[in-house]
């Protein structure tokens, strides 16, 4: 009885998550897609390093940092742009986007330098 109900609960949870997610606005979904892409790239690099070894360690760090950094900045953008978020109600979304672009530029400057 308990096991069957936990399975049912997991299934119900999954379905409710999916339907709730479907209701999010499109721009947030695009940001989520971008975050997912950059995390996926980071994971590929980690797997590659596990296979080949960490010889140019600075290049590895630089590659992973670019993915993780841009993911973090995209998450920040999503937080600031989300209309349901009461904390950033007065922040214009253009300001959030400008911050995002500026931070990304600095991030990519740093990783180009550190890439070797």
């Amino acid at each position: 009885m308990g096991r069957a109900s936990s399975k049912e609960d997991a299934g119900a949870l999954f379905h409710s998550l999916r339907s709730a997610y479907a209701a999010t606005p499109l721009n947030l979904k695009i940001i989520d897609l971008y975050v997912g892409f950059s995390i996926f790239t980071a994971l590929i690099q980690v797997v590659y390093m596990a296979i080949v070894g960490s010889f140019p360690f600075n290049s590895f760090l630089s590659g992973v940092l670019s993915c993780v950094g841009t993911a973090v900045l995209a998450v920040c953008l999503r937080i600031q742009v989300n209309k349901e978020n009461k904390e950033f109600k007065d922040l214009p979304p253009e300001r959030a986007f400008a911050d995002f672009v500026l931070c990304n530029l600095v991030l990519h400057l740093v990783i180009m330098n550190f890439l070797g």
């Binding site: 695009i30 950059s38 590929i44 690099q45 140019p56 290049s59 590659g63 995209a74």
Partner: protein, 437 residues
Amino acid sequence: MRKFWVIFVASILILLPFLCNSFSPDNPTDRRVLVLLDDFAIKSSHSSYFNSLKSRGFDLDFKLADDPKIALQRYGQYLYDALILFCPSIERFGGSIDVAAIIDFVDSGHDLVIAADVNASDLIRDVATECGVDFDEDPSAMVIDHTGYSVSETEGDHTLIASDDFIKSDVILGSKKITAPVLFQGIGHSLNPVNSLVLKVLSASPSAYSANPKSKLSTPPSLTGSAISLVSVVQARNNARILISGSLSMFSNRFFRSGVQKAGSTTKHEKSGNEQFLTELSKWVFHERGHLKAVNVKHHKVGETNEPALYRINDELVYSVEVYEWSGSSWEPYVADDVQVQFYMMSPYVLKTLSNDKKGLYSASFKVPDVYGVFQFKVEYQKLGYTSLSLAKQIPVRPYRHNEYERFIPTAYPYYGAAFSTMAGFFIFSFVHLYNK
């Protein structure tokens, strides 16, 4: 008249420096030889040997060993290039010569020939001991061999022995094989096995021993067998050469001309091997043979000709040196396949055999090891009978400069790709985000 004599003497004195010729690095064969004798009868009884030396261009100066006017050097300059001591019974040299003077003479690069005999004096024994050779302590002991003696009509005491146990070296004994045994009658000596500079040229047979032939043996003899050396040579580290023989009569005309038959063998040789043996040996001792010089050490990177001041690790370089051998009258190219060069810093990192082009040019090319520091190109060549070559040339080796590494590391291509794809993704995303309605 007086003025004429003054001018004559002055002109002679001016020309004197040009008249004296001695051995020099360009012409290593000795020229002036001082021969010290016990008495002048030796000069005639050993005339064959002296004539063979004279015919090869040596300037022999015969003096009695206790002549008070003999001197090896005057005003700091040596008067002779080589010294022959045919005076086994001299107790004290005349003039300014003594053991220390003789050793200084050898230490300054000059050659020495010592012939001892039975009842050799302590002085001669001292000189020989300084050179690395120990004669038998018993002054009246001679080398006796009951199975290797020379057969003669009278039944002797077997002190006249015939030996054919030569050192195997074409440089020292000449390329022609000595077929007849060498007659020897005298004292034997032994060499310290630790000493690497002294060589046994003529050894006694395993049945020989050193004892007094006139008295009965009370104790077993100390020197026996092949450990007894009849004739030895020493090549010092400054390339001075010393010949030490235990028999003066070995050099005499009588031994040169006599036939020899070794006991136990049926061949009777018409002429003993003494003349050939001693002539060839004298050629070696007086630097007519086996004298090497190494010149023109060069090194450069492969493909260039100038000599750089320092190398980088993993450079390809070429090292070359020219080695010549003195033939008695001119420098001939030395041909051998065992000259090696080391690239040395505390221990040899690279050891390569140099290949020669048969004209005396030895070269090798190798890669600088992956270690940086101050290295030396070292050539240490010591071959039996030849002068030793010792060359060293210092050269620093530096690591890579920061711009001599490869620009893009192939294993890091995925990371480069990831960074650029992130930038492209960011660019596309920003467009999509802005223009999305």
